[in-house]
């Protein structure tokens, strides 16, 4: 049943009794053309584009819990493409463009809200780095503006911009096309659309082993039995190393907690997304009225989906430095995810040492905004057994050659 105002009104008449499942709950088949391990946004998007763009008929997404329950459902929902380095910028821009048409493409309102993203500069070096990034964005065809402190004040009057601040705001970059999207809806929308194209989405199906014949992958062991496949893609953010180890190779990844939180809901007060690298916090206000905020990762490695409270304290101290009027609002809920970080803060979307096994990993804190683009190029990579031009640089072997992309080297704020 297509979603529309008409169908909503029609179903309201029958008290919504006739809405079908948004995706089926199939029993796993014995064999698939392609198995995607991991039912987060990236895995579901990959399955969708495999079916839609490459006509792959038998695709399964195996999810150990419930779809969208990992980082897809735990992030701060920011989408933007104002990355510094060409390779990253082109990939994220592709992603943002797909986001712009995604509600229509999926027939699912993902509540994209292009309210703009401000990246604040607080030191002279921040200013240099920010302008460098704005200039790179412009030449790459990505919308970007430089705002001086006065313009920042005009655009978002509640940010503290006075000179007495510990780290005064000296300016900011603004990407107007950036903003937020409803994270759950992205997962569910892709799931529903993939399901309509015949993809089997299998929840509560945990992969416990990856089977090989020589240097070629043959299938997976799961808690619901063995499933064979011609090709397998790994999209298991938070557990990339664990899956790679099952397949018998190592990845240059460490997993860390990343914490995020929301305030109690309040009436609209912040109509853009504000990010600051120097005063480390990023914040937006959800449609429900909650302030949604996050910051940097916890230093230690962890798979526990929780971090340390002092990291949250630092983050809120930063929030109040930027927004002193938020002090009497209340922290309502906090949570943690597991982010897989790479040495150059850029993802790996690549073939692997095992034939027919593909890896999509290492998004660090920047995965949500990449979902459509990542799914698009990963599907291409799996279908063609070679990378798309947009992910050609994101290979696994760049860590041996030294050809890093180094998005965090300069002004790359990777959230």
């Amino acid at each position: 049943m297509r979603f529309s105002f008409a169908s909503l009104a029609h179903n309201a008449m029958t008290y919504h009794q006739d809405w079908p499942r948004q995706w089926r709950s199939p029993t796993p088949k014995n064999h698939y053309d392609v198995i995607i391990i991991g039912g987060g946004g990236h895995g579901l998007a990959t399955a969708y584009y495999l079916a839609k763009n490459h006509g792959v008929r038998k695709v399964a997404v195996l999810e150990k819990g419930w779809i969208g329950g990992g980082n897809t459902g735990r992030n701060t929902t920011i989408v933007r493409s104002n990355y510094l380095w060409d390779d990253a910028a082109h990939l994220y821009e592709k992603s943002l463009q797909l986001y712009e048409g995604l509600s229509k493409d999926l027939n699912y309102n993902i509540m994209l809200s292009q309210r703009g993203v401000l990246n604040l500069a607080h030191s002279l070096q921040d200013v240099r780095d920010t302008k460098r990034r704005v200039n790179a964005n412009k030449l790459n065809g990505i919308d970007a503006e430089w705002l001086d402190a006065e313009a920042v004040r005009a655009f978002c009057p509640i940010i503290r911009t006075d000179k007495k601040a510990r780290y005064p705001v000296l300016g900011a970059s603004l990407q107007k096309r950036a903003g937020t999207a409803r994270h759950d809806a992205v997962a569910w929308g892709y799931a529903r659309a993939a399901d309509m194209r015949g993809v089997d989405i299998i929840q509560n199906c945990e992969v416990t082993g990856i089977t090989r014949q020589g240097d070629r992958v043959t299938g997976v062991e799961t808690n619901r039995g063995t499933i064979t496949a011609h090709k397998i893609g790994i999209c298991t953010a938070g557990h990339s190393s664990v899956l790679a180890e099952m397949a018998g190779f190592a990845v240059p990844i460490t997993s860390h907690p990343l914490q995020a939180m929301v305030s109690e809901p309040i009436k609209p007060v912040l109509d853009t997304v504000v990010m600051s690298n120097a005063v480390h916090v990023y914040v937006s206000q959800s449609d429900k009225g909650e302030l949604v905020l996050g910051a940097g990762i916890d230093a230690y490695q962890s798979y526990a989906q929780r971090g340390s409270f002092h990291v949250v304290e630092l983050q809120i101290s930063a929030l109040l430095e930027l927004f002193p009027i938020f002090s009497r609002l209340k922290l309502m809920r906090m949570w943690g995810g597991i982010v897989d970080t790479t040495p150059d803060a850029c993802p790996i979307i690549s073939t692997t040492p095992v034939k027919n096994l593909y890896l999509n990993a290492g998004w660090g804190t920047g995965g949500f905004k990449a979902i459509p683009g990542s799914g698009f190029v990963f599907a291409h990579t799996i279908a063609n057994e070679a990378p798309h031009a947009l992910n050609a640089a994101f290979t696994l072997d760049r860590f041996s050659t030294g050809h890093l992309i180094d998005e965090h080297g300069a002004a790359g704020v990777a959230h």
């Binding site: 180890e245 240059p252 997993s255 490695q301 526990a304 041996s400």
Partner: protein, 103 residues
């Protein structure tokens, strides 16, 4: 806020320490003689184990000594700590931790 036992100073809050990643990653004796792959693996290859992991910590706001900690990355349980130049077995560390008891 983990509670970490510095082998030199005793139990302290995590904020006194800085993290140094996985322990016992051996720097090649003669780096010039190893292959690009081996050097890349030394630089970036990390087991990133889910479960018990040996990791480096630096008591930066304390005695400024580096040491190692055995911690479960799946639930943050800390088994024990030891100086940078030792490598006691997991069994030994567990035994030590039991002996220490609650206090």
């Amino acid at each position: 806020m983990l509670k970490i036992k510095c082998p030199y100073c005793g139990d302290r809050d995590e904020t006194e320490f800085s993290y140094g990643g996985e322990a016992h990653i051996e720097r090649p004796d003669s780096p010039s003689e190893v292959s690009d792959e081996a050097w890349g693996a030394y630089l970036f290859g990390r087991p990133n184990k889910k479960g018990l992991m040996r990791e480096r910590w630096f008591h930066v706001h304390g005695c400024r000594r580096w040491f190692n900690l055995l911690r479960d990355t799946s639930n943050h349980t800390i088994i024990g700590s030891y100086t940078a130049l030792e490598k006691p077995s997991i069994a030994e560390l567990k035994k030590e931790s039991r002996k220490g008891g609650a206090k």
